[in-house]
Amino acid sequence: MKALSNLPDDDHIMRYVPWGRLRRDGDDNVLGFLPQGFQRRETEESLSVNWIEYFSGDRHSQITASVRMFRQTITVGSKSAFGIGHVGKTKDVCRAHGAVVRIIYEPTDDNPAHAGIRRLPREDFTLLEALAADAFVELIHNTAIP
């Protein structure tokens, strides 16, 4: 796929979420993701994710490869987790909150699976909550991937 192409709606993306932005209960049991886990920084033009279908093999192999790619390119905390979202569903959730986003293949030298969610509002707390709860519905603990 060419860089800057839209990812297929039927594909999936993976977002790295560090410990401090995991949703937990009062006893620190992990329940999901906080909205802040999907807030891009002021200096970022897009929200960084991995394109899972970049990798070959069955789904488990693709997920494992994506996590390992994150470990090669960023500091992955031992207590962190990864959120998996369906591309089409993610766009639907954003659209329902008035945001028309593009999910684009943005390979880098370090990470050929890198993609980005562009035009995502930074400060729309309701949208970020919806992404955390309804778009990235699958959570993979870092400790679950060898």
Binding site: P18, G20, R21, R23, R24, G32, Q36, T75, K79, E129
Partner: protein, 208 residues
């Protein structure tokens, strides 16, 4: 109580936490106590506790931020039971394990923590929230009941923003959000039955 607007319009500012003398006889002992707690929090932190901006090593900034948070807590410690206080410190320490951080993350902002304490003292939830930290150092509190979620971010200077989601029988969520002065947080949440999250009778979603 439906809200905690304690100020008579001193200088036209109804958000002032000081209680006008003329209103004191109208308030209960408990309300007056809360006002005293909050007033203690408003006292300036010693300069030695203010975390200095970038330029200092991260470990030093984390140490300073945690020290400031614990000092602020100590000012109202007599109104928090030991278990609550110990658990809060444990949660803060957990959030400041820098090996779990992304590059560029900041420690808890003392002003954000101050806002958090004010909120917790007025809400007085029976259930302890899960805590998180935004990458800019704003403290986040989360309550979860089944699929329903309440998330509050504590901003500097007594501002809070919150979002809640309540899932209906058809599986679709109703979402509501607000951004208010911390003194009006209770009022802001009141229409949404916050006891759904704050009371002990609420059940929690199983950990993933």
């Amino acid at each position: 109580m439906a809200g905690l607007v304690l100020g008579s319009p001193i200088g036209g500012n109804t958000m002032n936490w000081r209680m006008g003398a003329e209103l004191q006889p109208a308030f209960s002992t408990e309300t007056k106590r809360i006002v005293e707690w909050v007033d203690r929090l408003r006292r300036p932190s010693p300069a030695s506790l203010r975390s200095q901006a970038s330029g200092r090593p991260l470990e030093a900034r984390v140490f300073d931020a945690l020290a400031a948070a614990k000092t602020l807590t100590a000012r109202v410690a007599m109104h928090l039971d030991r278990e609550t206080r110990d658990k809060l410190f444990s949660q803060l320490d957990s959030l400041h394990e820098t090996e779990q951080w992304e590059a560029g993350d900041e420690p808890v902002n003392p002003s954000s923590f101050e806002t958090f304490l004010k909120a917790i003292l007025t809400i007085s939830p029976a259930r302890r929230p899960g805590l998180g930290l935004s990458h800019t150092g704003d403290l986040v509190a989360a309550w979860t009941t089944g699929r329903d979620r309440l998330t509050i971010e504590f901003l500097p200077n007594d501002r809070v923003r919150w979002v809640l989601a309540r899932y209906q029988d058809d599986g679709e969520p109703d979402r509501f959000a607000g951004q208010v002065e911390v003194s009006r947080l209770v009022q802001g949440l009141a229409p949404h039955r916050p006891e759904h999250w704050f009371s002990n009778e609420s059940s929690q979603q199983s950990p993933r």
